[in-house]
Amino acid sequence: MLDVAIRKQLDHFELDVSFQAHDEIIVLAGSSGAGKTTILQAIAGLAEPDSGTITLNEKRFFDGKKNSLPARSRNIGYLFQEYALFPHMTVERNIHYGIHKQKTVATGFIIEQLLTVLGISHLLNKYPHQISGGEKQRVALARALAAEPDLLLLDEPLSALDEETREECQDELLRLHELWKIPFLIVTHSRSEAEKLGDRVLHLKKGLIVNESRGTMKEIPVH
């Protein structure tokens, strides 16, 4: 379970949020500049809150003191806005980047499964600039999940895609969540996307959670 209670002074307001997430999809919704990405960065260890606590399955990431757990030790998958694929590495090397040296049979199986579910096996030898936006998104998802994270953070995962690809990818996200059974935390500014993906939707305004609703349109696609 993810347990977040943090405060952080931003440029124009103070971010002050607390929430918990079980193995469900939580959507952080709100207009841009509401502090959504900062929350993800704080959980991932890429930004330090001013005070508060962050724990994931009893593992303490941050407790308000200086020695917070570094990003590399948190075992979190992070899907960046615009994906941040390494441009000088092939798709295969991108996906394998987070995997520890002693590759086990289980890891191999997980990667195989990811490649199949996401339909990207044929892209392994390509470079990121040689594949389409939707393919990049899938590769980034595979990369984030290949290291078997305990939590997946997704920052506007679908905003760079066209309508049709977006719908496909929404379905894929739901399917992957069914398979993975870890908390997914998705940031989006799209209301319909929030409703379609989220088990719970937290609405953010100027650093505060102003409303919480349940996703109404969520149904898991059968394949």
Partner: protein, 226 residues
């Protein structure tokens, strides 16, 4: 024809470029994307040799490393090492004048990198050293290589500071620019012309190769650049 100026010039330029590369990459990476009090002062100091006349750089180095200089006298007394009038002095002069070129190129290369790439690597468990080795360095390489080549060319052509610190001792500190100057002074125009042709060809082919290489390699990442 005695070819020792060519060998010496290349030796001095290669060694000084190696030193400048390590130093420039280290400092530029340390300073990149960090803001702290005094950063501008440090950076201005780093770039100073670029705008000062080489004679001023040479003068400064003499004050520091000369037999009676602050560091020079200590080296002489403690280790019996003399720097002035040796090829080491030529290396030091080259390092100081070419460092700004390396630092500038490296700083620009590191600054233009997308922070998210390093962050992505960190979330996947990469240590800072691994991030540098596998992400930062390879992506900054075109810029670093430009700095490397410019520093090499600058080191090869260094004259003013070298003359003041290393002097002109045939067979010991006579780099190509030095050989040209003293050949002209002695009225040996043929010898001077020979070295002019050699050093121009060296400089030209270096820059030509760099341009060709960077065009070929930048295209690979071109569509990924923002």
């Amino acid at each position: 024809m005695d070819l020792s100026p060519l060998l010496l010039s290349v030796k001095v330029a290669v060694i000084s470029t190696a030193i400048v590369f390590v130093l420039g990459v280290f400092l530029a990476h340390l300073f990149a994307k960090r803001q702290f009090f005094g950063k501008s002062i440090f950076e201005s100091l780093f770039l100073l040799p670029l705008v000062l006349p080489p004679t001023v750089v040479g003068f400064g180095l003499l004050i520091l490393l000369g037999k009676k200089g602050w560091i020079g006298s200590w080296l002489l007394e403690t280790f019996d090492i003399q720097i002035v009038f040796t090829w080491t002095a030529a290396v030091i002069a080259s390092v100081v004048v070419s460092f700004p070129l390396m630092y500038q190129s490296a700083a620009a290369a590191f600054d233009s990198l997308d922070n998210k790439l390093g962050d992505a690597a960190r979330t996947m468990g990469a240590s800072e050293w691994r991030v540098f080795r596998t992400i930062t360095f390879p992506l900054a390489w075109p810029g670093l290589l430009a700095g490397l080549v410019l520093s090499f060319a600058r080191g090869l052509g260094e004259f003013g500071a070298t003359l003041m610190l290393a002097g002109y001792i045939p067979g010991k500190t006579d780099t190509i620019p030095m050989a040209i100057y003293f050949a002209v002074e002695a009225g040996k125009m043929e010898k001077a012309t020979f070295w002019v042709v050699i050093i121009t060809a060296l400089g030209f082919s270096t820059i030509l190769w760099l341009n060709w290489w960077s065009k070929r390699n930048l295209r690979r990442f071109a569509s990924e650049k923002r």
